[in-house]
């Protein structure tokens, strides 16, 4: 969701860098009025909503993770008792948790790599072709982009269905069941995830490439630079900010994939072989009534994504981004 905002920032960074000769933006664009209480008045509804429905739940998540909180406490039969870090000790002592964590990281990394590779190469392809094929590809990508995660998941499961799916027929796989084996099930989800997330990368990178002034490329070509050299020395540095932003957004997005795994592998696969952290937390809480353990997993996820966010903020800051 946060994708486009990030893109804008990436592009803007590049532009403001190029315009270093101009007077500093702060003086030119920054709002001058203090406005007294007015800004806070405008901010009030947003802050109230975010405090009540975002900050407070985060606090509660942390709280539940250090309490004994199971069905008995939920129904009010027993008082919730403070457990300290016992839930975390239990979690970290469980092999399954490390398995799931590893699976989450590897799966997310694969999805990010796949999405970026497909998105970027198609973006380059788009710049090399004429209007009609370009629009065709754009339109197809727009359709994949717009498809809800849940319907995308059902459709892909159907495509790869061992009995009635066209893919197995086409590949001559007979009645090979994709969801039975661990890796093939992950592969199936991987295809769906790449399918629905590459369009964003493609469209953004395409816009980024198109924003490079033609004169710059022309000048480089006149100076005798090869296509490879132009890419390495001119385009890549100019595209790097967008690339960084898109990658980070993909990491964040792919790390918290839920619907696809849940729907396509029927809640985490046979014996939980396809669990990722998100689904694991959900199952612990709502299927096993282990709300504390589920919350502890949630806290771990939150901390990991916070780490990614901090990296992102540092990258923005280093470029002298003005917020």
């Amino acid at each position: 969701m946060s994708t486009t905002a990030g893109v804008r920032d990436g592009v803007r960074v590049r532009k403001s860098r190029g315009a270093a000769a101009r007077p500093p933006r702060r003086g030119a664009r920054a709002p001058r009025r203090g406005g007294g209480w007015t800004p806070w008045l405008y901010l009030a509804p947003a802050l109230v909503v975010l405090a009540a429905l975002l900050a407070y739940p985060i606090y509660q998540l942390g709280l539940i993770s250090v309490l004994e909180y199971t069905q008995a406490q939920v129904s009010g039969g027993e008082a919730a008792t403070f457990q300290g870090l016992a839930n975390y000790t239990e979690l970290f002592g469980d092999r399954k948790f490390w398995d799931v964590l590893l699976a989450t990281v590897v799966f997310a990394a694969a999805c990010v790599a796949g999405t970026m590779a497909v998105g970027c190469s198609l973006a380059v392809l788009l710049t090399r072709i004429r209007l009609v094929p370009r629009l065709t590809l754009m339109l197809a990508a727009l359709g994949a982009w717009a498809t809800p995660a849940i319907t995308g998941s059902t459709v892909w499961v159907f495509l790869f269905d061992p009995d009635f799916g066209p893919v197995n027929k086409l590949l001559g796989l007979g009645d090979f069941s994709w969801t039975y084996g661990r890796y093939s099930a992950f592969a199936l989800v991987f295809f769906e995830v790449v399918w629905c997330s590459f369009p964003f990368v493609m469209v953004t990178m395409y816009a980024g490439i198109r924003a490079i002034p033609g004169e710059v490329l022309e000048a480089a070509a006149l100076d005798g630079a090869s296509a490879l050299r132009i890419w390495r020395s001119v385009m890549a540095p100019m595209l790097r900010p967008i690339l960084v932003v898109v990658t980070i957004q993909s990491i964040i997005w792919d790390f918290k994939v839920f619907t696809q795994i849940y729907v396509m592998t029927d809640g985490g696969g046979i014996a939980g072989q396809n669990l990722v952290l998100n689904v694991y937390a959900y199952q612990e809480a709502f299927a096993s009534s282990q709300y504390s353990l589920g919350s502890a997993i949630g806290v771990v996820m939150l901390l990991i994504l916070l780490g990614v966010t901090l990296v992102y903020l540092r990258l923005l800051r280093r470029r002298g981004e003005e917020l």
Partner: protein, 286 residues
């Protein structure tokens, strides 16, 4: 742009390559569009053809049977309306709240402004799935479980940080001089906000709304977790899973329900596409 400059010179050399590239692009487009094509096709296939060992990429006897089964399912229309209602409520509420907040952080300079912006950015990264557990208890304490509020409220909160962040660029793009001019002409701050700034930022609001609409419309986790017993308050994903969640799925029904659920989003995407592109473009020029 670059093509316009370079094309004439390299026209002849690049032509076969470009043809190859164009064929590849069309081929890829076909592959990318295929799942959607298959979804719609299967929705229109008669039952015998959907569950057939010889899947064919066409049908000679299109039928509405699968759609009939979907719509005859108890309360399907109601689920659809619920989904629509929840998404619209979220879009309107988050757009208004985000507009005010974006105005505050772009057109005023005050203490903690940067801190707030960083917090809005960080808030976008919060995995909402991880918050399902506390959110569940929060909704229970509000007595909101099983009502549509339990879907609307969390989604407003989750759409806001991104909406504010995105609208910021649009509000910033409105020249400062316009505001000064309005004040000189005697317009009050409120009047400027709603009668001048709001219409100017409207395309941005539309672009932002697309994202809140889609994330809410697509929501599956909260619908599953918060609407437990009051099935009359369920939303579309639940209706879809009725056909899917069995040992032997009714694929025709699943595909028809999927089509019904996907089409509003596609229409929305296409309808606002111009705004979407100019929206993102506008934000980029910022």
């Amino acid at each position: 742009m670059s093509e316009a400059v370079r094309a004439p010179r390299r026209w002849r050399i690049r032509r076969p390559w470009r043809l190859a590239a164009e064929s590849a692009a069309v081929l890829i487009a076909v592959v990318v569009a295929f799942p959607l094509y298959w979804m719609v096709l299967s929705a229109f296939k008669p039952a015998g053809e959907v569950q057939s060992d010889e899947p064919r990429p066409w049908t000679l006897e299109p039928s509405l049977d699968s759609f009939r089964r979907v719509f005859e399912q108890q309360d399907f229309g109601r689920y659809f309306l619920n989904s629509l209602l929840v998404a619209s409520a979220v879009v309107v509420a988050s757009a208004l709240i985000a507009f005010l907040a974006a105005t505050a952080v772009t057109r005023f300079r005050f203490k903690f402004r940067t801190t707030l912006l960083i917090m809005f950015l960080a808030a976008q990264m919060v995995p909402i799935e991880a918050l399902t557990i506390p959110m569940f208890f929060l909704m229970r304490d509000f007595n909101a479980l099983n009502t549509l509020y339990s879907l609307i409220l969390p989604h407003i909160a989750f759409s806001l940080p991104f909406a504010i962040w995105m609208l910021r660029g649009f509000v910033k793009a409105v020249p400062e001089a316009l505001e000064e001019q309005a004040f000189i002409d005697g317009a009050s701050r409120t009047r400027f906000l709603w009668q001048i700034l709001f219409p100017l930022v409207f395309p941005g609001l539309v672009a932002t709304s697309v994202f809140s609409f889609i994330s809410t419309w697509n929501d599956f986790l909260f619908a599953k977790s918060f609407i437990i017993s009051a099935t009359e308050n369920s939303t579309l994903p639940m209706a879809l899973l009725v056909f899917f969640d069995t040992e032997t799925p009714d694929w025709g029904g699943v595909m028809a329900a999927s089509t019904v659920m996907t089409i509003p989003v596609l229409i929305f995407f296409v309808a606002v596409q111009r705004h979407l592109v100019s929206g993102i473009g506008g934000a980029m020029k910022d």
